[in-house]
């Protein structure tokens, strides 16, 4: 497949307030770079993320969506990320059904201490999405910016 060198994907990252958002802050404090394509939305817990939000992002033109939460067992609300895990598994099969590449959506566990992991995950994800190219299938063309 051809890789467009200039393609800059739009990437939405949902981060839970207690671990991953703090992990993202830590990678900032440690000055660990990752591409500016990643834009973070803070949510209280990964289980706050409705799969609808992810579909909405794709519809509005996002090329990749990544959801980060505390490690299993470490959720600030004890069990939230277990729900997340199941919901995302279901969403994957729906995305498969719709014909959207699975790699455009990712679920990652990043703790508040894992600034380096956060940056590494984001670097990897942006690279993967770049390889996939722009999201065409779910994008609502009426939403496309001119």
């Amino acid at each position: 497949m051809q890789v467009n060198e200039n393609f800059e994907p739009v990437i939405v990252a949902f981060c839970c307030n207690w671990c991953s958002y703090a992990g993202a802050d830590l990678s900032g404090t440690n000055r660990l770079n990752y591409p500016s394509n990643v834009k973070i939305i803070r949510v209280p817990c990964s289980c706050r993320v409705n799969p609808m939000f992810i579909l909405r992002a794709f519809q509005k033109g996002a090329d990749g969506v990544i959801l980060c939460g505390c490690h299993p067992g470490d959720c600030h609300y004890t069990s939230g990320n277990y729900f997340t895990r199941r919901r995302i598994t279901l969403l994957y099969s729906m995305l498969d059904f719709l014909g959207i590449e699975r790699n455009r959506t990712r679920l990652e566990w990043v703790s508040a201490a894992e600034g380096a992991k956060f940056a590494a995950v984001m670097n990897q994800f942006v690279e993967d999405v770049k390889k996939l190219g722009p999201n065409r299938r779910l994008e609502d063309l009426r939403c496309r910016k001119q």
């Binding site: 973070i40 939305i41 817990c45 289980c47 706050r48 409705n50 939000f53 600030h76 201490a113």
Partner: protein, 663 residues
Amino acid sequence: MQRIGVFVCHCGTNIAATVDVKAVAEALGHEAGVVISQDYQYMCSESGQDLVKNAIKEHNLTGVVVCSCSPRMHENTFRKAAASAGLNPYLVEIANIREQCSWIHKDIASATDKAIVLGKAAVAKVHLNAPLTAGESPVVKRALVIGGGIAGIQTALDIAEAGFEVDIVEKEPTIGGKMAQIDKTFPTLDCAACILTPKMVEAAQNEKITIHSFSEVADVKGFVGNFTVTIKKKARFVDETKCTGCGLCTEKCPMKKVPNEFNMGLDNRTAVYIPFAQAVPKVATIDPNYCLMLKNGKCGVCSKVCTAGAIDYKQTDKMIEQKYGAIVVATGFNPIKPDKYDEFAYSYCPDVVTSLELERLMNAAGPNGGTLLRPSDKTHPHTIVFVQCVGSRCDDEKGKPYCSKICCMYTAKHAMLIREKYPDTEVYVFYIDVRTPGKNFDEFYRRAVEQYNVHYIKGMVGKVTPKADGKIDVQASDLLANEQLHINADMVVLATAIEPDKTARPLATMLTTQMDTNDFFTEAHPKLRPVESATAGIFLSGACQGPKDIPETVAQASAAAAKAIGLLCKNSITCNPCVAHSDELMCNGCSACEKVCPYGAITYQDKEFRMPDRSTAIRRVASVNPAVCQGCGACTVACPSGAMDLNGFSNSQIMAEVDAICK
């Protein structure tokens, strides 16, 4: 019509060096609803905050967006500033353009673009923010301390001193913990029991303190200021209120072959026992695994000799429920069992002991009455080898990755005490590094080397082999001299790593607090909030949070007490208003939300509704208890009809952010 103010911070050069702040302020000024967009050197400073406050008043703002550092840093600062200017604090949003933008990107153009997008998302969100008021919930003026070691005792004494009721839950039959087993303390070499036991007595006699010994926490419900805890009082088959602690039963009990935990299994106790002479409460406990009466129904000697009539073979576990405002965790540590280290022969050679075992061997109340003798043949050891870092600073599966912190010092203490009492005994210490930070610690270690002639050798012990003549061959390397050594030893002492108590992990789950990968409790902030857990109302005391020596433990215990007292002094606390709520008109009472709620905050009510045809109908609808809800949002996604939403992170707010980012 919304009137939004945008304030972009330079943070000195922290933001301004990579983000063109002027351009950001300019771009956001064109967003719908934005009436003022400014940039400033330090927005969090006094004058920066004044800028925000004045703008709120002057432009009659309905929402504020601050583009600055992480909301985890200064969200509260700006919320307070807004509140003081008369704007509801929950109408403030932060765009994180420092930690998540300027600090990670180098290219000014793309960083500026990103900052603008983040700002736009915040503006889009603040459009939908609703004013929220935090509710109040009362504080129960009683504290629970879990663990009755020196940490728990100190915390309880301090809280009681401040005039609050406090309960100690201790899983063993007596309080005192590990410190009760220690012989002497470093670096002053005073006797541990002499300084600990008066404190134990003080705790027992303090009328504000209730000690639940031989008890465990079975369940924790509720939230800061209002926890409901179920405590399981395990059956000890002795009526605590009647037992006088005379010890007659322990003398007469025919079952005398029970390994004595207090002496690390180095001698035996009876099936009915009092752990040690100064135990608090001084009450006997029957061990059901060994008691002949409980096992076979034949014996009953203790009940015959007990003049107080305290023996009760029919006793069962009892559950008690109690409400608390604050909980302090002080579950402490245990040394690891070195039996996985085959090279040290611990599991099959009785003369290879751990440091805590040595502590008991040297203690006057220990198995040998304080004379150091080899466990195997009760002879006096002439050569003793200490092995440091057994299981500490270890990167394989068998051990722990961290430094256990106290081993260097207690080994210096052991070596010194042995040389002092038995000058004919040669002592070797094999170490990787000697770590002695602490007041008078290095002086203490140097005394061991210089004054007491303890042989410190930098190097590792490769193999410990018991020989036929009862001696032990210790094969080791001397790294500095670069040679292999063989030492013909009589005893080997392993300074084993310490690990958190096994009860800590299930407890953390009950308390919904966080732990690190080593099962130490995680503090809310490693530097600035070292004695609080991230869960409000739960505090950490002692070695449950990380390896610590006694003075550090006591310091942390008092700090945790101070934090708990600070909470208990309040009559009520403000709750987080970012909680879930359900739209009764949309709710169909399916119970999906109730099932996912980790706090049991959702209940159902039958409510009357007026139907379009003016008749009334009764429907079952969900309602959220705002004092119990912690605002995770699990229910909002579980709700099939979209009736559940979360204040501060509503569906429409998050969607608006998504839209703004993707635009």
